[in-house]
């Protein structure tokens, strides 16, 4: 390897740029890391299970239950009201989210005379079967989400809404 001479001026330029860059980085890196922090934190943990109702109230017919979840938005803590359509299928409990998978309106069970025994979204005539599966050729593209659930001491606890395992139509 041949030695490549560098002039004193070039050497000093490198040193000055390096030192200056190091100092500037020491100042700007904390600022940038501070700004991007929310993007790096990702989604929160699974969340708490919230008591919603007693199991003996559940039937084969979907019933609407309202409950509240504690939400932490940075420094702002609030209670978000949520609803679930819950019914029993043998020993299993199915708790469906009422949020339409089309554009986020709220669906109701068995309210539309033309479509009995279905979840119906009034915004764009979206329809779902009892297990949440979306009816083909209506606007929704996926089945209604299901809440994670847990039964303890005769009480039903609901957690986060997750994609419905019945699969889309």
């Amino acid at each position: 390897m041949s030695k490549k001479e560098i002039s004193r001026r070039t050497f000093l330029n490198y040193m000055l740029t390096g030192t200056g860059g190091f100092l500037a980085a020491g100042m700007t890196v904390p600022l940038l890391r501070f700004a991007v922090d929310p993007a790096l934190k990702g989604d929160g943990a699974a969340g708490d299970m919230v008591p919603v109702t007693t199991v003996d109230k559940l039937t084969n017919e979907p019933q609407r239950f309202d409950f509240k979840v504690k939400t932490t938005d940075g420094w702002y803590k609030t209670e978000t009201p949520l609803s679930a359509w819950v019914y029993k299928e043998g020993d299993n409990v199915i708790a469906l989210s009422p949020v339409c998978k089309h554009l986020g309106c709220t669906v109701q069970w068995n309210t539309e005379a033309a479509y009995p025994e279905e979840f119906f979204c009034p915004c764009h005539m979206g329809r779902y079967e009892k297990n949440g599966k979306n009816v083909p050729n209506t606007p929704p593209t996926a089945p209604l989400d299901v809440y994670a659930y847990e039964v303890k001491d005769g009480k039903l606890y609901l957690g986060k809404a997750q994609p419905n395992p019945v699969g889309g139509a």
């Binding site: 100042m27 700007t28 904390p30 600022l31 501070f34 700004a35 922090d37 790096l40 940075g74 420094w75």
Partner: protein, 223 residues
């Protein structure tokens, strides 16, 4: 690569003379610490500007989390300091820099005073410098309220009461500062506006004048 980009821009906009005007100027021997170490006293103006840049940067980033509202201000400061990565450093930069900028500015003023650099023909720049001094004090006063803790609240209360003791116009000044009958929600909102929009705007304008004048008149001669 960088050279090519520079040349491409330079060919079209002729930026080299601009660079020369801003950065390429002679530093007289008597202000160069490499020649006389005691010349470090001439650095305080530059240091004031450097810390001002840090204040502007850290302040910009702090407003990403801070809210000027009586319910949430304290909680948002607590959150950004304790929960956000490097929050304690970013707020620390702004907190300590605020004191340091006053110290540096005061040392710069002392240097200008004791070297007689304010004399003819530089009287005007001394006046501009004094205006910058008052704007900086205003930034300190308004910024002190923003964390909305006990220190902030009562320090501002004292400051407002001092302003209220001015004969004849005292009450008017007090209401102008607090934006209402009490030191509360409206005070916090207007102190925030003054702290992040009005005074920084005035400061940048005055600094621009300060620098243009010093370049036009040159640094004052040796003692």
């Amino acid at each position: 690569m960088i050279k090519q980009v520079y040349d491409w821009v330079d060919e079209r906009l002729n930026i080299t003379p601009m660079w020369r005007d801003i950065a390429d100027h002679e530093v007289p021997e008597h202000v160069n610490p490499a020649h006389h170490f005691s010349a470090f006293v001439y650095c305080f103006g530059g240091l004031t500007f450097f810390i001002t840049v840090i204040q502007i940067l850290s302040g910009m980033f702090l407003t990403m989390y801070y809210v000027p509202d009586v319910i949430n201000a304290y909680e948002s400061v607590k959150y950004l300091q304790n929960e956000v990565a490097f929050g304690v450093i970013v707020r620390g930069m702004h907190h300590w820099g605020a004191s340091l900028v006053i110290v540096m500015m005061f040392l710069h003023t002392l240097r200008v005073f004791f070297t007689g650099a304010y004399k003819h023909p530089r009287e005007l720049n001394w006046v501009v410098g004094m205006l910058i001094f008052f704007v900086m004090l205003g930034l300190g006063f308004t910024g002190y309220l923003l964390p909305w803790d006990n220190t902030a609240y009562f320090a501002t209360k004292v400051g407002v009461e001092i302003a209220a003791s001015v004969p004849f116009v005292g009450t008017f000044i007090k209401h102008l500062l607090t934006g209402g009958e009490i030191l509360g929600a409206q005070t916090l909102a207007r102190f925030f506006a003054i702290h992040v929009f009005f005074l920084p705007g005035a400061l940048l304008g005055l600094l621009g004048v300060h620098f243009v004048v010093i370049r036009r008149q040159g640094i004052s001669g040796p003692l």
